[in-house]
């Protein structure tokens, strides 16, 4: 018999509850149980992105299947619970499932998104809607602070809608079932139809409005319209295959958009796709629209010599005006070889006699014209400008963690603009030479401590976050520092994009900080136990999480190796797939239940759906109306007790001994073993004696303005405190002050079935204090043998297989802990106090005082 059958069959003989209530309660249980499981599955899969594991496509299929089953069941149960009020959730589950299947089959499907996004607001996490070319460019501007041409991206979602509304789907479907010459004929037809298709009015409006805004703001008459294809890092494979239109005038924007979209089906692109085993007919195009200036010069920079990566040099090629001739190699250009190491000495200069240049044509487009003889032999770049260019390129390289191939332009004032950056294809790498390196002579500072959360190599000066706790500001940490911290506090997540590695004393590989480190591909080790004590602030170190080592100084050979094969695992098909799957699964958009956007139709990921369903399910059970109307059914009671918890108890059977029609019960009436044990701990003398503490305004304001982290408190947040019980079972949601406790447990005669799941989240103070409380909870719970996970200020603790006596003790302890931590975050003004309160609790002493 399953645990759940046991729970529901444990009612006393002769007691028959109304079917409707029980049915609803069962549906609620289903939602809670599957919700927990989905969160575990997501955390588990996210951990696989760190590079420590080998997994295959079958694993991804199983992951998607199991997750889909759980999420669909949650959506169904919610509808059953609410009289089908949330039917659209089922449609959304199917639609997400379709997207996930498309990823598994390497088909390209764009997640729903805005039609137009501003370039300065996107990053690599938007690659599925903006294409990775534009996503990277956005990140270079947003995170690295380098200059790109201002602009917008017309997303893949726009492309899907454009193709659909133009009635082109049947032709695309026909192409999917064709091959050989016939395929190319259909593609030709499709290209033709795209170029002549009507751009729908709504899309025209959006395009024109965006273009007007750009031209007005930047006083420009000309634009560049660039392809940014969606899919398996298409621009790595398809470098330069798609169309870029330069010198587009605002009124020509629709034509340019159509042309760039049509380039998806160019013959050479289709051939390329076939050669790389990608479905030839599937593709989507996001389109970047940017300001185009007439540059003084432009060109390409390679941060390594691709034919001789052992040389420590940077290669620059540069021509006057627009870079077309540099990119296609059609005319002589200047070439420079520069030392990679600062101050970047110029090792070789080859100044060409440049006879032609490409410029914007006044009537639109570009023209190639002759260069005046006196200008032909003038170098395009001065030494200072070259060095500036190198510094910028290395900054990008360091952020992207592999050697880069960058297109750039420079205006008359010497300002550099990054036009595009992608991984440099290095042609001659002897794999064996890279793998077998000589012994490293640098001093080893840390070895094999903790768990690797993300693989890679990073170097920089140690920056210990704990030393700056008070008044710490983001920009205090220098760029490229090795971020070291005692706790894996989510507050540090904001620093990660600028860090070159992360080391923490505590934390888990499934925690929030580890998840963010993987998102930004920052080499990270958590739970080292000692990093913040052993490493000195300001010391230069190299962190190699491939081998879990930290060396003193800059280990050149490791760093070079990383540059050449940074993407050794990240570029594997399976990793790209998992990353794309998780974008449709793990991102939480609906984080605030009080927001007007907290609606079923706004669910975009599985995480949104389970968050939404759990919230609504708890509200459904916990709302006064439902409870009042069912009070007399002998299943819903209010608990009369000395502590201020205002608890409503819903009895699944055998949990309450009540006389008919009684709606208020005392602890004497409780038969539920786990509820009895928990209340025993909560009502112990002294546990509940303090009044809510005073709070400083700063603490309160940070609570008022904070946002929920991606892995933030998914715990149900009912206004009414509710305990759902049977004789053996308890699910209790408690809102106390400003935070939320959830206890889910089974306490039966059979130790093998028993478990305690305890979840704690929220709080009113700023993250630092809340994370201190999370640390305190973690240490206490671990002391009592719980397996504890921390995600942000969320603490999840689990314990299984305990006999009745031990269950009793652990639940009493949890009860005491719930009372003890009621307002504790307000008191936790320093780390020393954490230690103090842990000792106090373990000694079984009283509640903290308000002083």
């Amino acid at each position: 018999m399953s645990i759940w059958n046991k729970i529901f069959s444990s009612s006393h003989p002769g007691e028959v509850h109304e079917h409707g209530i029980r049915y609803r309660l069962e549906r609620f249980q289903e939602i809670v149980r599957r919700n927990n499981r989905v969160l575990e599955r997501i955390a588990d899969a996210s951990e696989k992105l760190g590079g420590e594991y080998i997994f295959d496509v079958q694993y991804l299929h199983d992951f998607v299947d199991r997750l889909g089953d759980d999420v669909r069941a949650i959506a169904l149960a919610l509808n059953e619970l609410t009289g089908n009020r949330y039917q659209e959730l089922l449609r959304i589950v199917s639609s997400i499932n379709d997207n996930l299947r498309a990823v598994l089959e390497s088909r390209t499907v764009a997640p729903e998104s805005e039609i137009v996004l501003r370039l300065d607001r996107i990053g690599t996490e938007h690659a599925d809607v903006t294409g990775s070319k534009m996503a990277r460019l956005g990140e270079i501007q947003r995170i690295l602070g380098l200059t790109t041409m201002p602009g917008v991206v017309v997303t893949a979602s726009a492309c899907t809608q454009f193709l659909e509304s133009a009635g082109l789907e049947p032709l695309i479907t026909a192409m999917r079932n064709t091959n050989g010459e016939e395929l190319f004929e259909l593609a030709g037809e499709l290209r033709n139809q795209i170029i002549h298709a009507d751009v729908q009015k709504w899309l025209q409006k959006k395009l024109r409005r965006s273009v007007r805004a750009i031209s007005k703001r930047f006083h420009t008459q000309y634009l560049s319209v660039r392809s940014s294809a969606i899919g398996e890092d298409e621009d790595l494979v398809f470098a330069g295959q798609y169309l870029t239109e330069l010198g587009v005038r605002p009124e020509e924007i629709c034509d340019a958009y159509r042309k760039v979209v049509a380039s998806l089906y160019d013959r050479h692109v289709m051939e390329y796709r076939i050669r790389h085993s990608l479905p030839p007919a599937d593709g989507l195009m996001a389109v970047g629209i940017q300001v185009l200036l007439q540059p003084k010069c432009s060109g390409i920079i390679y941060t390594l010599d691709p034919t001789n990566p052992d040389r420590d040099v940077i290669l620059v090629s540069s021509g006057f005006s627009l870079g077309a001739s540099v990119v296609d190699g059609s005319a002589p250009v200047d070439r420079f070889i520069i030392d990679r190491n600062p101050p970047h000495h110029i090792l070789e200069s080859h100044i060409a006699e440049k006879t032609t240049e490409c410029v914007i044509n006044e009537s639109g487009g570009t023209i190639v014209r002759e260069i005046e003889p006196e200008r032909r032999k003038i170098p395009t770049l001065e030494p200072g400008q070259l060095q500036n260019l190198c510094r910028q390129a290395l900054k990008i390289e360091r952020h992207m963690r592999c050697a880069q191939d960058i297109e750039w332009a420079m205006d008359e004032k010497g300002r550099i603009f990054i036009l595009q950056s992608r991984q440099l294809k290095v042609t001659h790498i002897e794999q064996n030479n890279l793998n077998i390196m000589g012994p490293i002579s640098h001093e080893v500072l840390l070895k094999d401590l903790g768990e690797v959360a993300c693989r890679g190599v990073g170097f920089g000066r140690v920056w210990i976050a704990d030393n700056r706790e008070e008044n710490a500001e983001d920009n205090e940490m220098p760029d490229h520092a090795v971020l070291v911290s005692r706790t894996a506090s989510p507050k540090l997540a904001a620093l990660l994009p600028r860090a070159s590695a992360l080391l923490t004393d505590y934390g888990t590989t499934t925690g929030h900080l580890a998840t963010v480190a993987r998102e930004y591909r920052i080499p990270a080790v958590v739970d080292t136990g000692a990093a913040s004590r052993i490493l000195e602030d300001g010391r230069m170190v190299t962190v190699d999480t491939e081998e879990n080592m930290v060396y003193s100084g800059k280990v050149q050979e490791l760093i070079k190796k990383q540059l050449l094969q940074a993407s050794s695992y990240e570029d594997k098909k399976e990793f790209r797939m998992l990353r794309r799957l998780l974008r449709n699964i793990a991102i939480l958009n609906l984080s605030d239940p009080t927001s007007p956007d907290f609606k079923a139709q706004n669910c975009r990921t599985y995480h949104d759906i389970i968050r939404f369903a759990h919230e609504i399910a708890v509200q459904e059970l916990a709302t006064g109306n439902w409870l009042r109307s069912n009070r007399r059914c002998n299943a819903v009671f209010r608990l009369d007790i000395d502590i201020p918890i205002d608890l409503v108890i819903i009895d699944l059977g055998g949990g309450i001994k009540a006389t008919p029609r009684k709606t208020v019960v005392t602890s004497q009436h409780i038969l539920s073993r786990p509820l009895t044990a928990l209340l025993a701990g909560m009502t112990l003398e002294g546990v509940w004696k303090t009044e809510p503490a005073d709070m400083d305004l700063g603490g309160f304001m940070s609570s008022a303005t904070r946002t929920t982290a991606l892995t933030g408190p998914e715990a149900a947040r009912p206004e009414q405190n509710v305990a759902i019980v049977s004789n053996d079972y308890l699910n209790m949601s408690l809102k106390l002050g400003y935070h939320f406790n959830l206890v889910d447990c089974l306490m039966s005669d059979n130790a093998e079935d028993n478990f305690i799941y305890f979840r704690f989240a929220g709080g009113v103070t700023e993250l630092l204090r809340r994370s201190r409380r999370a640390l305190l909870l973690r240490e206490i719970l671990e002391h009592y043998d719980f397996v504890v996970e921390g995600k942000g200020d969320l603490v999840i603790a689990r314990l299984k297989f305990l006999d009745l006596t031990r269950m009793q003790k652990k639940l009493e302890m949890i009860g005491r802990l719930i009372g003890f931590t009621r307002q504790l975050d307000i008191h936790l003004r320093s780390d020393d106090l954490v230690r103090h309160y842990i000792q106090e609790f373990l000694a079984g002493s009283e509640m903290p005082s308000s002083s």
Binding site: K48, E52, Y53, I54, F55, D56, V57, Q58, Y59, D62, Q431, N432, L434, N435, I436, E547, S568, Y569, K572, K573, E574
Partner: protein, 121 residues
């Protein structure tokens, strides 16, 4: 460098691609394959110290490859990689003389440490 020879067989290329550099770093000579027949052909003429093989594959499957390897080179140590669904078969493989089985997904380190351990005994 131990110079011991490891042959890896899994029809999913990523397994060999990721194991090869990790095992090479630990000093092993490594060959990786995605077709089981190729491994049988190879083992017919060449001795390896360790065979790391997936179970579920087109014929010959992992169990058959293991039997062939054991028959040909009785001293060869065999590690079975298995998906969740084939735990029973893996148990059978253990009975037939595989040293260990490891379930996918697995940590590269764990497998590397395992290979090191069984080759140093």
């Amino acid at each position: 460098m131990s110079g011991k020879k490891v042959i890896v067989l899994d029809d999913e290329p990523i397994v060999g691609e990721r194991l090869k550099p990790a095992l090479e770093k630990a000093g092993f000579e490594v060959e990786t394959y995605t077709e089981s027949q190729q491994v049988v052909d190879k083992l017919a003429k060449e001795r390896f110290d360790v065979l790391v093989t997936d179970l579920k594959m087109r014929k010959p499957d992992g169990l058959e490859v293991m039997r062939f390897a054991k028959e040909q080179w009785p001293g060869i140590k065999v590690i079975i990689i298995t998906g969740f669904a084939t735990v029973e078969t893996a148990t059978e493989a253990l009975k037939e003389g595989a040293v260990e089985f490891i379930a996918k997904p697995f940590k590269i380190r764990d497998l590397r440490d395992l290979v090191v351990r069984i080759t140093t005994v």
